[in-house]
Structures are given as structure tokens and as C-alpha cells.
Symmetry: C2
């Protein structure tokens, strides 16, 4: 019997997108509570770009796999797996070490706990565009921000997959979604995506516009993956007792803490990653229930921007780094 092989993306050093290599590797059998997925689509995330660069919360040890989100068909299960079987259609929840279980490739092994079935009406590309974005936005807006009907939320970098998920979740709970985007080119897209208001931050005074929209009250919740000098602007846009949720570090500039706004308004600034949700069984179950209900009702609908073939994984990363995307970037397999 000859060993089966699959093409897997790995990198042997940190660096730009060109470090990503497509390698023919022997397919392993899942052990213990692991499952193996024949991958049909991969969802790309900023986290993977940062991991590739060596700037992520987790550091790679080489050669390293990468990737959090894949959708496909279970084609083998470990001896301790009870809830999943060969043939199930699943996608992966980012609740594992990328270095250990990275899913970029034709075949991926992950712990069964992180594989979730997804609705029949979604394509594999959409299935690979669910968990990072909706769990991240759910945890920030609902669990931490306690976003309520009529409350106002400012969503920065709103054209990202998480930003769009946040708009959908905000509308789903009856909140007012103010999306921000740097340039005018994404303004109409964000309106079409459900934002009640769009602020073009390169051209408009962000805090001033939020105050105008909220009749001087400010935003109750602000959901921001950027940081840097923007944080002071967001603090100016916040309502008294408002909460700013920082869930990323896209800005490479230092981030001053807005001490005086924080004191005067009693602001909460909360650092957050979705691992808070995915590491906690109870929270994760609540989050999944929310997402399934939203997918069912149609309030949540993953927006796929563009699909690349697996051969072009480096180009897919470059495209993500160009920040042109409007929604999720996916890679289809084969």
C-alpha cells in the first residue's frame, strides 16, 4: 500500500507571502479525538498573515503549517470521536494552535471539538467563512458589549469579514450600526451590507459624525481591530460609560491610552480575542447557537469577496494585505 499524499501549505521562515510553500506531504491518520477533513475551501484571516510574519500571539516553529478555517468533508476519525463520522460536512472553529493543526491544504487534521456542521444552503466557501467572523463579533458585541436594541455601535475596518459580521449581528439584535471605512470606494458596499451609517474616515471627522448621528450621546459600543492613534478618536466618539473593544492591532503606530476621556466618561477599554469564547465550552455553545439561528433566519449571511485557487495561496495573502477586500477571502480546493 502506497502512502496517500496531499498538498499542504507550510512555511520555513517568517516573512512576506512568498514564504508560503505548497508541499506534497504524506497524509496522517487522525488519533485520539482528532478528525481528518478533505478540504474544499479555506477561509483566510489576518491572524494567519500575522502568524506568517511572526507577529501573532502564537509563534511558529518550523516548518510550520498555518490556517484557522477550512470547510470540507470528514474522511477519517480518531478512535475517541463520537459526535462526527466520515462523510459529515463541517467547517473549523479557530480554537486550536495554528502551528500544530493549521488547515491550509487539501487535507487537515483537527480536534473534533473544533469541527462544526454548517447549514446545507451554504457553499463550502461560505462554510469556511463562518466561525472566525461570527464568533469574534458575537463575543465582542453581545457577550462583552451587551449590545441592546437601539444602542449604537461603531464598527471600524467595517469591510473586513469580522466588520461585516459585526454589522449583521448589530442589525440582528436591533442596534444602530455605524460603519467606518478609510476611503469612499467602500461606502456604498457597506450601506448595502446593512450599515445604518457609513463614515469615510479619510474625509470626515469620525468623532464629530458619531456625535451628530447620536444627537450628542456618543456610541455605546465601539468594535475596533485597529488601535494606534485611532483609539483616542474612538474615545472621543464614545458615550459616557461606553465600551471600546480592541480586538486587533492593525495599526503599527503606538496606541496612546485616552486617559482623560476615560476618566471623564467612565470608559471601558477591553482587549479581546475570540479565544475567550472558543476556550469556554459554555460560551462557545451559546455563540454557536446564536450563529446557527442567524444563519437559519438569514440575518447572518457570510459575504465572500473573492476565491483563489490553492496554488495561488501567496497571492491570496498579498490580496489580504492590500486591504482591498470587501468580505472574506477564500481559497478553494482543489
Amino acid at each position: 500500500m502506497t502512502a496517500q499524499t496531499a498538498r499542504i501549505v507550510r512555511f520555513h521562515e517568517t516573512g512576506d507571502a512568498s514564504v508560503l510553500k505548497l508541499e506534497e506531504l504524506e497524509v496522517q491518520a487522525p488519533v485520539d479525538d482528532e478528525i481528518r477533513i478533505k478540504v474544499e475551501a479555506i477561509g483566510l484571516n489576518r491572524a494567519e498573515v500575522m502568524f506568517r510574519e511572526g507577529h501573532y500571539l502564537e509563534s511558529p516553529s518550523f516548518p510550520s503549517r498555518l490556517g484557522y478555517e477550512a470547510a470540507g468533508i470528514v474522511d477519517a476519525v480518531g478512535p475517541n470521536v463520537v459526535d462526527l463520522k466520515v462523510g459529515d460536512r463541517v467547517s473549523t472553529i479557530p480554537a486550536f494552535s495554528m502551528g500544530q493543526y493549521g488547515v491550509y491544504g487539501e487535507s487537515a487534521i483537527v480536534p473534533a471539538r473544533v469541527a462544526a456542521k454548517y447549514p446545507e444552503h451554504l457553499s463550502a466557501a461560505q462554510g469556511a467563512s463562518l466561525w472566525m467572523q461570527y464568533l469574534t463579533a458575537f463575543g465582542g458585541l453581545i457577550e462583552l458589549g451587551k449590545l441592546a436594541p437601539g444602542a449604537t455601535v461603531v464598527i471600524t475596518a467595517a469591510s473586513s469579514s469580522v466588520g461585516l459580521a459585526a454589522i449583521q449581528i448589530a442589525k440582528n439584535v436591533g442596534a444602530i450600526a455605524i460603519a467606518t471605512t478609510r476611503g469612499k470606494d467602500k461606502q456604498q458596499f457597506l450601506r448595502d451590507a446593512g450599515a445604518d451609517h457609513v463614515i469615510v474616515s479619510d474625509e470626515e471627522d469620525l468623532a464629530g459624525r458619531v456625535m451628530e448621528i447620536t444627537a450628542g450621546q456618543g456610541a455605546n459600543v465601539i468594535f475596533d481591530p485597529v488601535g494606534g492613534p485611532l483609539l483616542e478618536v474612538l474615545a472621543a466618539a464614545a458615550a459616557p460609560r461606553g465600551m471600546i473593544i480592541e480586538y486587533g492591532a492593525l495599526s503599527s503606530a503606538p496606541t496612546p491610552y485616552p486617559l482623560f476621556s476615560a476618566l471623564a466618561k467612565g470608559l471601558t477599554i477591553r482587549g479581546y480575542t475570540l479565544f475567550e469564547i472558543t476556550r469556554d465550552d459554555e460560551l462557545l455553545a451559546r455563540a454557536k447557537k446564536f450563529v446557527y439561528a442567524g444563519l437559519e433566519s438569514g440575518d447572518l449571511k457570510p459575504i465572500v469577496d473573492r476565491a483563489f485557487p490553492l496554488n495561488d495561496i501567496a497571492d491570496a495573502h498579498r490580496y489580504m494585505e492590500s486591504s482591498q477586500q470587501k468580505g472574506k477571502i477564500v481559497v478553494t480546493v482543489p
Copy 2:
């Protein structure tokens, strides 16, 4: 009938302590829901130094009174006052505009809502040393920090009146109090004041010591009036999901936001002033109940550092600015 006069502290320009002037002014009658207090003692606060300098949340309009805390005897009541009468022994809760109602002087008028009786066993100097410190620490540690038995709290600038109040409140609820102080000279004093651990930050690695004390867990709550570069150190000392409560801006240096610690640990950084407590009737009632119970049991015991005569109000401010004090600085009247 000749008008009665009283010596009142006012200032006619922002500046150093020398701008404080003791002026003979006509005593007014309280109107509406106001009461008048014959002042016996005044408690000094950093807020008044900042207000005098023009660096406070509220700005003075000249000539301006100042002062949040006085203890004395009610000697007149406005027509709408129902709960207080002439002869009552009260002290003031900082829940008013200093510019409008400043209590530095022999006589003070305040809204009846902010006057509270205090236990017989306390001196007037102690009575003037209650509300700012205990309400501030209660709001931060109990209402926001949800400080629980066995939890660890780091209290910076611990020799201040609020710092000492925080130590007492932490011990009162069964938490572990780690006090920090810059120099060695206050180390023993803080131990005597109830701190379980004292970190001398000029000589010791603050975050390292907190990790050592907490067996690598970090502090659950951090209560800090300093800000500046210290915030990054405090973020390093915080436990996962820890809360840092910033309640002042003693540092004149910029305050970087510790974005990476915040993301990795899910930290909450909360700006806070006691006005959150004092503006809310329900919260204020809960806070007063907590303070009265603590004063009754002896767990809360205001520590008066030094008393100045009213004539020396400028020196009293200078002493506060020198940061030598261990506890409350008061002014006794006459």
C-alpha cells in the same frame, strides 16, 4: 443687624498654592434644599490641587471657591430641607460643583443631599476624611472590580487617603492587598495599615513581584491613580481577564495603552471617578451603607496624617503636592 461674616478660601487665578486666599465674606442663607455648615474640619484632596491649577475635570470661574470635604455642625437649613436640622453633625460627600459649593472655609453651604451624618466616635477631622476616600475605593474595588474573597488587588500610590481606604476595603472583603509605594520610607507604614504585601517600586520589579506573590497568576484587580508609563507595568502584573481601574492622572507623562497585554490577557482598563457613585442615588445609598457598616465594625478607620490650621491652607496644599503624606491631610477650623 450687621451681616455675619466668615473666612472663606478663594482663588482668583489658577496657579501654585500661593493663589489660595483667605477672604472675609458675608455668610449667606441657604436656599431651597441647601444647608449651611459651621465647619470644624476640612479634608484635602488631589482634586482641589488640580482644580486650583486648572487641570481638573471642572474648570474654575473666578473668584472661585474650592473644596469637597468638610465636617461640622448644621447651623441653617433651606426651606425644602426635610432630613437634616440645625445642630446635626455632618460631613460632605463630593457630589457637587467645587466652584459653586467649595467647602474650604469657616462656613459652607451645600445641597442637603451631599451632607451625611458620621459616627459619634469619629473626630471632625476623621469625619472630613470619609467620603472621598471610601466612596472612591468602594466604587472601584467593589462596584467595578467585584473584588471577592481571596482575589488579589494591587493598590498603587497606596499611602494616599484613597489608597489606604482601598487597603481597608480589600481586607474588609477578604481580598489580598498588595500595596505599592515609590520609596522604602512608607513600607512599614503600609504594612501596619493592613497591606498583605508592600512593593517598593523604586527598588523592586513591580510586575515580577506581583507574579511571585500570586504564584504566576497576576492580580485580578489593579487600582491606580497614576497612569503614565506605569500602566504598561500594571498590565504586565494583571491576571488574565484582570481589570485595571484608572482613577486619576498623577503622572504627567503620556500613558501608552498596553495593547498586546490587553489582547493576550483580555484585560479591561476602566476609567473611573467617584462621580459615577455619587450621581446615582441607588449606588450612593449602597456605598454609604457599606461605609457605615465598616466604620461601625472598625474595619474602616480613616487615617489622618496631619492637621493644618485654616490660616495655613496654602502650606497644606504644598504638603499634599510634596507627596510625603501617609493618609489624609486635614485643615482644622478655626
